[in-house]
């Protein structure tokens, strides 16, 4: 490893910050993928991978991806809930990886709810 100059150290810090963002709790938005047995059977794990792939190419990794249990709407699985800071959460159902990517771009990054796939707006009992 070559010795760093001041500028190189600063650059390195910018890179390194991307690696630890999960632990610092600085999020603007949160995606919850429902991973009950029903969800997993319907393909929830591919949805997780699709979202992760999108997060990977972000510079500011301020999106949190987590999982939760069955949401009680097994027929609509795979499902995900998207929460943006200071706005009501939105539930999406019958997801595919393509739908997930579109939701990521339009809702998470763009701030616009993808009404085509939304099955409920507001807390818990949406849908």
């Amino acid at each position: 490893m070559a010795q760093l100059t001041l500028d190189e150290l600063r650059k390195k810090r910018k890179e390194a910050k991307k690696e630890i963002y999960l632990r610092e709790g600085k999020y603007k938005s949160k995606i919850i993928v429902h991973m009950g047995t029903c969800g997993i059977a319907a393909g929830a794990r591919e949805i997780v991978s699709a979202f992760l792939g999108e997060i990977e190419i972000l510079t500011d990794k301020d999106v949190m991806l987590t999982t939760s249990g069955c949401a009680g709407l097994c027929s609509m699985e795979p499902m995900a809930t998207v929460e943006l800071l200071n706005s009501p959460s939105v539930k999406y159902g019958n997801l595919t990886t393509d739908k997930a990517r579109r939701i990521f771009k339009e809702h998470i990054l763009g701030g616009n709810i993808v009404t085509d796939y939304a099955i409920g707006i507001g807390s818990e009992k949406g849908g």
Partner: protein, 621 residues
Amino acid sequence: MAVRRIELMLCTGTGCVAGGAFRIYETLEKEIQKQGLEKEISVIITGCNGFCGQGPLMVVQPDEIFYGFLTPEDIPFLVQEHLLKGRPVKKLMFTPPEKKEPVPLLSEIPFFKKQMLVVLRNKGIIDPEKIDDYIARDGYTALEKVLSSMTPDDVIDEITRSGLRGRGGGGFPTGTKWKICRTEQKTPKYIICNCDEGDPGAYMDRSVFETDPHTVIEGMIIGAYAIGASHAYIYARTEYPLAIKRMDLAISHARDYGLLGKNILGTGFSFNLEIREGSGAFVCGEETSLIHSIEGKGPEPRQRPPFPAQLGIWDCPTVINNVETWANVPVIINRGADWFSKLGTETSKGTKIFSLVGKINNTGLIEVPMGITLREIVYDIGGGIPYDKKFKAVQTGGPSGGCMPDSMIDVPIDYESLTEAGSMMGSGGMIVMDEDICMVDVAKFFIQFTNDESCGKCTTCRDGSEALYEILTNITNGDGKEGDLEFLDEVGNAVKDASMCGLGTTLPNPVLSTLKYFRDEYEAHIKEKRCPALVCKNLIKYYILPEKCTGCKLCLKNCPPDAIKGELKHVHIIDQSKCTKCGTCLDVCPPKVSAIIKVTGKEMENITGIEEPYPVKRRKK
């Protein structure tokens, strides 16, 4: 590394490692593979989380869920339920004593709530073996700032204005120490980091090494720049292999990055650092003794002044500071003296790390703002005393500290208030004692320790501690006599005044402070041959209450010296001539029966132990 959705922050501090943290690590890795989650989830090792009493433990991020008392058997379920299906596992969460519902989130657990993390700001967030993790948490930005925009005098001024005082015991103002050294003409100059930490039960400094070694290194580089030193030593005990390993690794990473060595970050400043391992004596932690030890001489202290800042290692000006002192430096530079000086009390700024041990529900390592009260530490953070016993005292400052009694529970803790109480800050050991602890016995224990550790160079310390120990032994044996307390007082104060180094001047503290606050307990031992806490073996007897004994033979079978007479359904009798007072009978007697008691003083007279067993009378249900 690709992005992950979950990181498992697994504690690998000394406590958790002893509890099997690395076995947990292996099982986690295996189960994560098994579920095919290795691309989404990674396990990160961290330094001590602090809540050592709950170890082995980990925190799941970003959910922030805290799991404790982990065993390898728990892992498959945990991985499947929480990591795969997103259902946190309640039974592995922390449940406060006497509560039914667990507290899932780390930040909601009372133990963590009142803490303030300055030195330990990266605790549980970084992998101590990765320099990039430290850098990501704004590590080495203070060094950048210093090297690119501050003069050495600016740095000293900032540290002075912050009010930072030494965390190694004495509480000397750090900026002043640096200034003294800077103004010395002689060169080269040296700096030393004191990680001797020989107090029984204390593990703050070693944990800082294990948790975040780079913050110490960064602090030392900044200190070297400020005083004009080009070489440093880190003195650590051989008994702390994990701390040394992580520090060693951190130094080599820092060197690779050009943060140590020649022409640091291309600024022309050069500085080098090496670890020296010391082994053994408590007195090695005393600064002049430590310097002798690095020089290869016998680790004996010498008279001060001159202070090391004027005449230190290799007869050169040397700044020696404690681990925690160094670790504060980068934060002060980054956030400014004004910010730092707002934390704490008038005379004591910032935070302090304590190791909270003894009779307390939540044991562990805590960092709290100066000025916090004992009550907050014992009841809010510590969760109170187990089994609802009564709080009696807290011993602070290590073996040469003193006791703060119940009456001082609301005094804000800082350097001055502890000294006033007859104790001291020391390096931050905090031992909680409940009603079952005998204060005379405690004083004896600590004097025995310092008496053993006295280097013997000055007679007051050596013979004085011996004399104190002898009297204390007599008192606890029931051989105390009129005048003993006056003698303890006199000798204690003489040792305090006339000893050469800090070991001698502080070793009477445990005696003098207990004499001050628990004099009646001493008097009971001497005048009534009574140990109120029922601890001193010569002053107690065990006795089986005939009206309660069911004649179950449990104590009889377990008694090591076979001192219990009896047969089934006959009231058992302890033969006092054989009893060694080990207390086994009390431990094994079923709680529903509770037939065994301890007695002391006058009550002992009637207990002879020469009666014979007789049949248990039928009792009304």
